[in-house]
Symmetry: C2
Subunit: 148 residues, 2 copies
């Protein structure tokens, strides 16, 4: 914990963010149950549920995933039959993504409990602290100028 100069690893934002994210991931896994689904896969399904149809890159932007990362996430979801891919007739570069019936049913079932994961992640804080924390964290999560 001590350090030669004033530099203490345990006080650095990056280290703490990483640890908090680790803890959240563990909570996510516990709560998601027997369904084998990662946080990113979950996020992609949620956004797809909100929008019905989006191109792969666009979905990546909305879920903060790199195009290369998105590719892998989508490939795995598609191979499990949770989402469907079809070419965009208006733009042949694009791939239009949508939920399959199975994917729709799965994400609907999971979302009802989704808030519980955030609640459990923030459980060490009081209600007031939770609100403060989420507000501040939201500011720090903004990359640059974000819109939609």
């Amino acid at each position: 914990m001590a350090a030669k100069d004033g530099y203490i690893l345990e006080r650095q934002a990056g280290h703490l963010l990483r640890r908090a994210h680790q803890r959240h991931s563990a909570i996510f896994q516990e709560n998601i149950g027997d369904v084998q689904l990662t946080p990113l896969q979950f996020a992609a399904l949620v956004k797809l549920r909100d929008l019905n149809e989006v191109s792969q890159n666009h979905l990546g932007r909305l879920t903060a995933m790199d195009a290369a990362t998105m590719q892998g996430v989508i490939k795995r979801l598609a191979s499990r039959g949770l989402i469907e891919r079809r070419p965009d007739p208006n733009d042949r570069r694009r791939l239009i993504l949508s939920l399959s019936d199975e994917g729709q049913a799965l994400i609907n079932a999971l979302v009802s409990n989704g808030g519980g994961i955030t609640a459990q992640t923030l459980a060490p804080l009081s209600a007031a602290e939770q609100k403060t924390f989420l507000d501040l964290l939201t500011k720090l999560a903004q990359l640059n100028g974000e819109a939609e």
Copy 2:
């Protein structure tokens, strides 16, 4: 941004933590300069600087890295000559890690600017907000009972 039920991805702790961590990583890369060093490699060097000598697993615990992850991080640092590995004469399972002269010099030079990365990460917040945020984040980063 909208959702069918009340579930909004952008308000979930996990999603925000992930985004904030992404933003921090980008800031880290910009500030670390031409030295090719990742946040985890940096953390390992910092801790090694504080303690002089530690076993690999112990260092992993102090930096919140999985044993398998630590293995890779250490291997890369050792192959670059930044750290040294030697067997523990008292426990033949253990590998004792320490900084090489080069590693020592490198981390000393980087630590002087290390605080700047956290400052830049937290820059969107006021001074008071920064303190609040770090305090709350510290609580959320605690896995269970932690000591040492």
